[in-house]
Amino acid sequence: MELYHVELLSAALFAIGIYGVLARRNSVLILISIELMLNAVNINAVAYSAFLDPGRLVGQVITIFVITVAAAEVGLAMAIILRLYRTMSTANADEADSMKW
């Protein structure tokens, strides 16, 4: 297994995540797509750490922090989405377009 294999995997995951963000209407699914992107980051970070910088564990540290932050983020985002659902009766992000132009 070479580094670029992992890089490709991560890039693919990341791209799928971006696609999800762009293509999904439901906020929750968007959030999940973002989680996908973050996981791509994590894979990449660990891979770099393992392949390029074996002694220092920087990548692993990054990963741990990202996972933590992502968890918090999801919690916060879910709360806010819930708020949106309460006020607008929808969780679709593209229907929340009262402010534009």
Binding site: I18, V21, L22, A23, A93, D94, D97, K100, W101
Partner: protein, 623 residues
């Protein structure tokens, strides 16, 4: 006394400032202030003249001047200075005398006018400007005075500003002369650019010793003459003068006799070395003078308003003077200027007296007035005979000088024209005099009355001058050997001489002119109506002043103002609305469209970020 000569223009100028600022408070003093200062100027003139004669015993002293620095900038110094030489002395004498007399006349003539003070103020300034003009020793000061003369004429012609024709005439006078002034100023600038000075004496020295090229001399002479055309109302800028009689009569008198119109003639006389050195320019002066004289004389024969007749006669005489100057007759031109000044002053003051006394201005409504206003009639008659060129009146001498000079300078053909002009002068002078004073008194003129002594006295003095002025041409003492020894070009002093043939011819023509007029307007043996009917086309052209005014009016209305409105529209619609506002609205419109990028949808925003990322990466990759 010569160093006090600056008082001559300064006195009336002081009167102007005094009257213009404080005059409102002291209305009763205005006439006295103006006339008093003018009298002082007149007296100073005599002292200066006496000084001149005592000094010019030394033959090499030709001119005396002094000056003070007015502007010093960029390495050049511009001065205000005066030159006192025969030409300027003649002019100063004429102007001070005419202005003084006319002001005295005005006391009575304008006594009921509420803006009496203002009249005297501007009248004084008018005289001051004219005096400064003739005394100026450099072209800059000359131009300054020249413009001041112009503006005073504007103010005076438009004195009755609440009458539309007066306002229009004033505007016309100023703008028309201003067109000529463009030429004058360009000529002056040309001379400054080539010589580096405005000083007349320095410029003349350069002209004499070839310091300026022939082309420049000709160009300058022509350009300066443009100024003269405007001020002296020569074709094609003559249109303002006949209208200028909309001003009060004393103004017309001053304008026509001593100030304003003769300024152009004076300019040509003053710049005479240029015309001596440029044959083509001199020929132009002759031709325009002759053309104007003939054309104007013809109009003077048909118009019926008394002041208009006199106005066209002025045009004729001015043309006549320039005719002489262009032919090389400096003496003749200046002499005619002097005599004409006095004579024309009489005629206008007389005309004023007539309309003042009878309330009429159209000669067809007059006739037989001598019964009601005998003194005016006599005085007017002297003026008419003088300008008609009947000996021994002054006008005869001057006219004879002019014809002789034209003959000497230009030969037979032009002399014939001069004689023709002389004949026409006599004819229209006879016409106006006979039609007004002789014949039957019209019933509506029964109430006509003689004017007051205050008005008549100056007229009398001018009448004497017109009557005997001609004898100035003759030699009396060693100090004064005739006008030709006094005013002369170059080194060419010459005594008065009569060319017998010419003299007899011109006398014959003058007398026959008067006789014809008498036959037509008094005796009635010559009927004018058939002639008018016969030449109705010509008559219509003449009555309408060759349609020059109409053409100009058309040009102004249909070309100049339309062009102005077009430019104004262009400025607003294109430069402003499209150019300036357009730039602004392009930006705002762009903003209005670009805001729709912000769709409000989340995915657009995310897409924007991705596009931005890709764009950045691409740009980086490429660079």
């Amino acid at each position: 006394m010569m160093e006090w000569a600056w008082l001559i223009p300064a006195m009336p100028a002081i009167a102007f400032f005094f009257l213009a600022t404080a005059g409102r408070c002291l209305p009763n003093w205005s006439a006295i202030a103006a006339t008093g200062t003018m009298a002082v100027a007149f007296i100073v003139f005599w002292f200066v003249l006496a000084d001149w004669f005592s000094m010019s015993a030394l033959p090499e002293v030709k001119a005396f001047g002094f000056s003070f620095d007015w502007i010093k900038a960029g390495g050049s110094t511009f001065t205000w200075g005066m030159v006192i030489d025969p030409i300027s002395l003649v002019m100063v004498g004429l102007v001070t005398a005419a202005a003084l007399g006319i002001q005295i006349y005005t006391w009575s003539y304008m006594s009921h006018e509420p803006r009496f003070t203002w009249f005297f103020a501007v009248h004084s300034l008018f005289a001051a400007a004219m005096l400064a003009l003739v005394l100026a020793d450099n072209l800059l000061l000359l131009y300054i005075a020249w413009e001041l003369v112009g503006i005073c004429s504007y103010l005076l012609i438009g004195f009755f500003y609440d009458r539309r024709p007066a306002a229009e005439a004033a505007k016309k006078a100023f703008i028309t002369t201003r067109i000529g002034d463009v030429g004058l100023l360009i000529g002056i600038l040309l001379l400054f650019a080539k010589t580096g000075t405005f000083e007349l004496s320095a410029i003349f020295t350069m002209v004499e010793n070839g310091g300026i090229s022939e082309t420049v001399i000709t160009a300058a002479a022509v350009l300066l003459f443009l100024g003269a055309i405007g001020k002296s109302a020569q074709f094609p800028l003559h249109v303002w003068l006949p209208d200028a009689m909309e001003g009060p009569t004393p103004v017309s008198a001053l304008v026509h006799s001593a100030t304003m119109v003769v300024a152009g003639v004076y300019l040509v006389a003053r710049m005479f070395p240029f015309y001596e050195h440029s044959e083509s320019a001199a020929l132009m002066v002759t031709l325009i003078g002759a053309f104007t004289a003939v054309g104007a004389a013809a109009i003077a024969l048909v118009v019926t308003d008394i002041k208009r007749i006199l106005a066209y006669s002025t045009l004729t005489d001015l043309g006549f003077m320039l005719f002489a100057l262009g032919a090389g007759g400096l003496t003749a031109g200046m002499f005619h200027l002097l005599i004409h000044g006095f004579s024309k002053a009489i005629l206008f003051l007389g005309a004023g007296s007539i309309s003042h006394g009878s309330g009429q201005t159209d000669i067809r409504q007059m006739g037989g007035l001598w019964r009601k206003m005998p003194i005016t009639a006599v005085i007017f008659g002297i003026g008419a005979l003088s300008l008609g060129g009947v000996p021994p009146f002054g006008g005869f001498f001057s006219k004879d000088e002019v014809i002789t000079a034209v003959f000497d300078g230009r030969g037979w053909g032009f002399m014939a024209i001069a004689l023709l002009i002389g004949f026409m002068k006599a004819l229209y002078m006879g016409r106006v005099f006979f039609a007004v004073f002789l014949g039957k008194l019209k019933p509506e003129n029964e109430h006509a009355h003689e004017s007051s002594m205050v008005m008549l006295a100056p007229m009398l003095v001018f009448a004497l001058l017109a009557l005997f002025g001609g004898f100035l041409a003759l030699s009396y003492t060693d100090g004064y050997q005739g006008f030709g020894y006094f005013v002369f070009e170059g080194t060419h002093q010459h005594p008065f001489h009569l060319n017998k043939g010419i003299a007899i011819g011109s006398i014959a023509l003058a007398v026959s002119g008067f006789i014809l007029a008498w036959m037509a307007y008094v005796q009635g043996s010559l009927k004018t109506e058939p002639i008018i009917k016969r030449f109705s086309g010509v008559h219509r052209v003449l009555i309408n002043k060759y349609y020059v005014d109409e053409v100009y009016q058309w040009v102004i209305d249909k070309v100049v103002l339309v062009f102005g409105r077009f430019i104004a529209f262009f400025d607003r619609a294109f430069i402003n609305d499209i150019g300036i506002n357009g730039t602004g609205s392009i930006v705002t419109t762009t903003g209005r469209f670009m805001r729709y990028v912000q769709s409000g949808k989340l995915y657009t925003y995310a897409m924007g970020m991705i596009v931005g990322f890709l764009g950045l990466a691409l740009a980086w990759w490429v660079s």
